[in-house]
Amino acid sequence: MAEPPVRLAQAVRPGDALPELAVDVTATTVVLGAMASRDWRPMHHDRDFAQKRNGVRDIFLNTPNQAAWFERYLNDWTGPYGRLGRLRFRMRDSVFPGDRMHFSGRVEKVERDAAGCAWVEVALRLAVGERTCTECQARVALPAAAGDNPWRRRGDDWRP
């Protein structure tokens, strides 16, 4: 395989926008995501249950699968040297089959911690049309410069 792409922290600036990603959600998306995260609860695969017990229109994406979508979105941007330190997300509305998810993100901060690790704070959004479904704040470590690798950090050198 070709040399993997490397996004360096020194090339990232506050205000940078991540390329947008659009995904059409089907029932398969929801069920596959629930099963992949080993979430067997019926509101993620049984429409009758979701409607009658949760009072929503259909089955909906589960929380761990949304984390996986945000991780994928960040991985697309950082490449394999990007190392996730922290994800914080807030669900405001549900994502249902038939929805088109739009992921977007903007760099808020680039900093170096006391251990020398380069961190990028990114504000991410999952929206369906004008409706914000989930907001996510991510802290991801990038190589500070060529030759650096955040994955080599352990113990006190890793402060997510």
Binding site: P4, T29, L32, A36, S37, G55, P64, L87, R88, F89
Partner: protein
């Protein structure tokens, strides 16, 4: 409205320490990556994994998956629940419905195929009764801690849940 003594006693206490029922394995890594079309070569290309992370790792966001119980297991009569403290709260507070509203995950040592992880749960707080568009209930915060078989911290998940009774 005051909290039941049973619930107050859970706050700050480590509960449900357990070791994962199976080893971290690559089959689930592929299923998880395929579900979100994650093409990061760390999870698909051995040479990249060796060069960047010193070998295969699991996607960090899969952390909770390694502890979700099987839907069925021989000899078990009740459905096992992940995040048991959450379900304990629903029962103890008489709140039949619940949703997760906020989730923070902090990642430590990478999780690798063959790891057998350990976890435990700590209830951090329970709010006063609140009314939202879903109904009347309470918010709570639960931390789930994870370590590997060498005792190294691999992550912490912090969940905010809202348990409620649907409005009439």
């Amino acid at each position: 409205m005051s909290l039941p003594d049973e619930v107050r006693a859970w706050i700050g206490r480590e509960r449900y320490r357990q070791t994962g029922g199976f080893d971290v394995e690559r089959g689930y890594v592929f299923t998880s990556c395929a579900a979100v079309e994650n093409g990061n070569p760390l999870f698909w290309d051995e040479e990249t994994a060796r060069q960047v992370t010193g070998g295969w790792i699991a996607p960090p966001a899969m952390l909770s998956a390694w502890f979700r119980p099987h839907h069925w297991a021989p000899g078990r009569s009740e459905v096992a629940q992940p995040l048991q403290v959450h379900f304990d709260l629903k029962r103890a507070l008489g709140l039949p419905e619940a949703v997760m509203t906020d989730n923070t995950i902090v990642f430590g040592e990478p999780v690798r195929p063959g790891d057998r992880l350990e976890t435990w749960q700590v209830l951090r707080s329970v709010s006063e009764p609140k009314r939202t568009k879903l109904g009347e209930g309470r918010f709570w915060v639960i931390d789930v801690e994870y370590a590997n078989q060498r005792g190294e911290w691999v992550g912490t998940e912090s969940y905010t849940g809202f348990g409620y009774r649907r409005g009439a």
